[in-house]
Assembly symmetry: C2
Homo-oligomer: 133 residues x 2
């Protein structure tokens, strides 16, 4: 199957699929005489696996490990769970970080009139002045 069709089926851009080939993450089963990438059903399955992992924000490196475990029939599910847990911790860290930012930003915004006058608590806040003023 040519890359264009694979792109449509998996909803991954041809560019990205080529990139995954280039970095050795998902390589096509074969190449045609003319050098066209030739993907089979198994490749598509793997691409979809990667796509789901990526949409959960797993890094490419994680995807490699997950794929390797996926292909290892003697794997321990504990190894998979460790990767997932580490990733979960990271997601939680990011959420906390973003919430903190949101809180700070909200505080500044609430004080700002947002009109045509120059007085602006947001800028004051960024400039380091404390709450007051």
């Amino acid at each position: 199957m040519n890359i264009g069709k694979v792109a449509k089926i998996t909803n991954i851009s041809a560019k990205t699929i080529r990139y995954y080939d280039e970095i050795g993450l998902v390589t096509p089963a074969a190449r045609s005489a003319a050098g066209y990438r030739d993907y089979d059903d198994s490749d598509i399955h793997i691409l979809q696996f990667v796509n789901r992992a990526r949409s959960l924000n797993f890094s490419i490196k994680d995807c490699r490990e997950l794929l390797s475990l996926y292909n290892d029939k003697n794997r321990a599910s504990g190894d998979v769970k460790i990767i997932a847990k580490t990733h979960m911790d990271e997601i939680n860290r990011k959420i906390t970080e973003l919430k903190d930012m949101r809180q700070t930003l909200k505080t500044l915004m609430d004080r700002c009139q947002g009109n045509d006058r120059p007085e602006c608590p947001i800028l004051h806040g960024l400039a380091g002045l404390t709450a007051a003023n």
Copy 2:
């Protein structure tokens, strides 16, 4: 003031301060005869402004606009608030996205025994199989 001292005071790495100079975000007041960057108190103030904005995840582009408004005594606070609001929306979007990921990941993890057996709902999930199994 040399870059090393500025780095200590602002808690921004010298590398980053040089980078801000390079992209024209915060340029030193002067250069010594030998070519050393020479920062004054105002520069430090601006660096701290940028540092706070960056720590709220404002992009460099946003920082430029915020700085420009900060320096414009005829600004309208509404213009600042629009930038903040846009950014706030983006933060909220990211939080929502991360929470969705967390939920999906949690569901998969809860089903996984995480032991030394190969059976793994996390991998099943990534492989696209539905909840069951």
